[in-house]
Amino acid sequence: MSSIMYKEISFQSIFSLRAGGALPRRGKDDVRTLISNAEVSTILSKLITTLFIAFFGFAVFLPLMAGTSSSYPTRELTAVGSVSTFLAVVLFLISFMGLQVSTSFVSSKAIDVLTPLSLSKSDISHIVFLCFIRIFDIPLAASAMVLLLAYYFIGGSFLGGLAAFAGIIVTEAFALMLTVGLARFFYSRVAGGGGKSRWKTLLRFVFMLVWILPSFGIYFVVNFAGQIAQSFTSLTQGVSSILQLLVLIYPFSYGYLVSFATFSFQASYLTVALSVAACSGYFALAAYCVKWVTRTVGRIGAGGISTALREVVKDTAVSPQAPWLGTIRKDLRIASRSPSYASLFLLPAIEAAVLAMSFSSFNEVGLSSTLGLLTGMSVVVLMLPPTLVSIEGLAASYTRSLPLKKKTLISAKTLLSTLTYAISLVVLFVVALYVGRSYFYILTFGAIHLFSVAAATMLELIILTNKFWKEGFAIGNIYARLSTYILIIIPGLAVVMIPIIAALATFLLAQSLTLAVFLGLAVTEFAVATAYVALEK
């Protein structure tokens, strides 16, 4: 039965976005396509997470596999660092994936159909839990396999393998608890609030930041895999004097236990005993987490926690804006209440902050590094237009009846995307200022690149609205229609890259013309895209 419920939830996750409630009036073939899309998309999202895990797993264990650190205590401490890092990363990746899908899980309310059936509460709870676990099945299994395989390659022992297996099980239980806990908090305290309360608005913003942390983590670990593993190793070496304390802290306790069981290095009985005790404690905590998740997820699946707290309504006044501004306000409001949307809105600014951290390794933020930073940030911003268009699909079967011009829609979403990019540039500028690096290139090239990003956004939105205007807007969320996203992002990417590549080429050939070429191309792109949008009805 959990299999049927799981299929239903996967389907609904794509249905609400793609069909906007218009599905019953579609042809059988369309419905079949939607169902197969939903099935493929859910598998795809699992495989992507699995690939991340596999990539990172082998990246952190590479120094041990290659035998580059063979002497005591480096090898032993590297093993501690590798295992601990891998566990921390699995925690991040599974939580990230969980946060994205928990929205569909809560909003589907598919579990409602189970309640009238002749099933006990405990049966329903188990079905919902199994259904929830199925969302993560491949990544959960892959995490365990990657760790055990990598451990096998470094020449692990049976006992060490057992400890590693226990560590990954505990990590997965923690990840599920983190996902469910955050989802529970979001839907009971944040999403259920009214639009008038400033406190709720502030809370939503804070929560968006919390929600983005796993996204930040994913970016961080993928880009800095080697450095993270090294940092963990350094940490274990640096604090060897307070080893007893460190072995009590997850995930180091498992890292130590695995390393000790593998290499049997010289450690005091007290340290080993503390590590075993801490691991046992975390194992017990994980067992409790699973129990808590089983209980809580049943309530989430039934929509039991999304009941809103009702506020006292003083008036019924509204403040109508111009259509484009009304569209932007609506998009921001919806995004602030949906973790998957919110994370994409905040990702560019967070990415800018992460990239800005790398300033410390530069002596000077020159042209090439600035253009590199602009490339990275604009690629993330290019994911926004499809997301913004998919918001239109949430109620397409109604909103399509509104007299909204295509060019108003494109303008509103272009402005919002470009503004998001501008905020990322401000973050970059502030950090450059803070760390005392030159910010000339960020200011000049960044400001000019806004034109290019706006043009790319317009191009994406023109493609999207032309493709989806007739059939209802939605294209699904990032996991549901990844292939569509990629196909739309490629032309956008070409537009943002043309001035960057041209600027780099000009820099090599005629340095003094670099800024002029960059400006000329960006403004031309913007002018062409704006003229095209102006011609839209």
Binding site: G192, V313, V318, I334, L394, S397
Partner: protein, 261 residues
């Protein structure tokens, strides 16, 4: 002479190979309440969706107050629509949703607020005004959709099963509003399965079956069509849609099954 509010000619709507609406034509005049009746899957909702621009027709011509529906913005500005299945932006509150609607329809704040206050009070929605739509009951969601449809004082109201989920008070108010709207020269297209409501409320009805109009006119005109002097609209409907004979057989079969020990 009455102005033609809606003109539908040769409308064809299909979903893949399935033809939902087959060469449908009808006219609605201003000041008129036109009931669109038909069994489930007859093509009523598809027709109304094309009329309001939610769905694309394969063929046919539609004009709303002489504006072709192809002139989307101009045509849609004159229409207020309540869908059969109320799918709104669930994470917004009614206040936020109606603010969005007022923005898209370019309403002045003072005019919008004055009308909104009256409508919210009439449908007793004030206490739910800052509650997310997702947390509202079906009836309250329906009220939000009705207020959104009436907010800009449209010339044409397209109401697809608008009474579903409404309490008795709100149903009564909506019916009064619809009647008042028509008296002021507006037009209404009203789809319902409740024959008594259609009989009392509608000036003319069009009965649609398998995507085609199978009967059209006032109730008296339809009685003549089925050669019945006293039948209710329900009787007429069942005859016109050829459901009466089959229905009796089904009822008889069910009754016999009930009698068996």
């Amino acid at each position: 002479m009455q102005e033609v509010a809606v003109q539908v000619e040769g409308l064809v709507v299909n979903y893949g190979p399935f033809v939902a609406v087959d060469n449908l034509s009808f006219t609605v005049n201003s000041g008129e309440i036109y009931g669109l009746l038909g069994p489930n899957g007859a093509g009523k909702t598809s027709t109304l969706k094309v009329l309001v621009g939610v769905l694309e027709a394969r063929a046919g011509k539609i004009e709303v107050f002489n504006t072709p529906i192809s002139q989307e913005v101009a045509a849609k500005s004159q229409i207020g629509y309540v869908p059969e299945e109320v799918v709104l932006l669930d994470s917004l509150t009614p206040r936020e949703f109606l603010e969005f609607i007022a923005s898209i329809r370019k309403l002045e704040a003072s005019a919008a607020n004055s009308r909104l206050e009256k409508l919210v009070s009439a449908f007793e929605l004030k206490q739910f005004f800052d509650t997310p739509i997702a947390a509202l009951s079906m009836g309250n969601k329906q009220k939000v959709a009705i207020i959104a449809a009436l907010l800009h004082e449209p010339r044409l109201l397209v109401l697809d099963e608008p009474l579903i989920g409404l309490d008795a008070r709100s149903s009564k108010i909506l019916k009064e509003l619809v009647t008042f709207h028509a008296k002021r020269g507006g037009a209404v297209i009203f789809s319902t399965h409740i024959m008594e409501v259609a009989e009392k409320l509608c000036d003319r009805v069009g009965i649609i079956n398998k995507g085609k109009i199978v009967g059209e006119g006032t109730v008296n005109e339809l009685r003549k069509l089925v050669k019945s002097a006293e039948g209710s609209l329900e009787d007429i409907f069942l005859k016109v849609t050829e459901q009466e004979a089959g229905m009796q057989d089904v009822i008889r079969a069910l009754e016999e099954e009930e009698k068996q020990p």
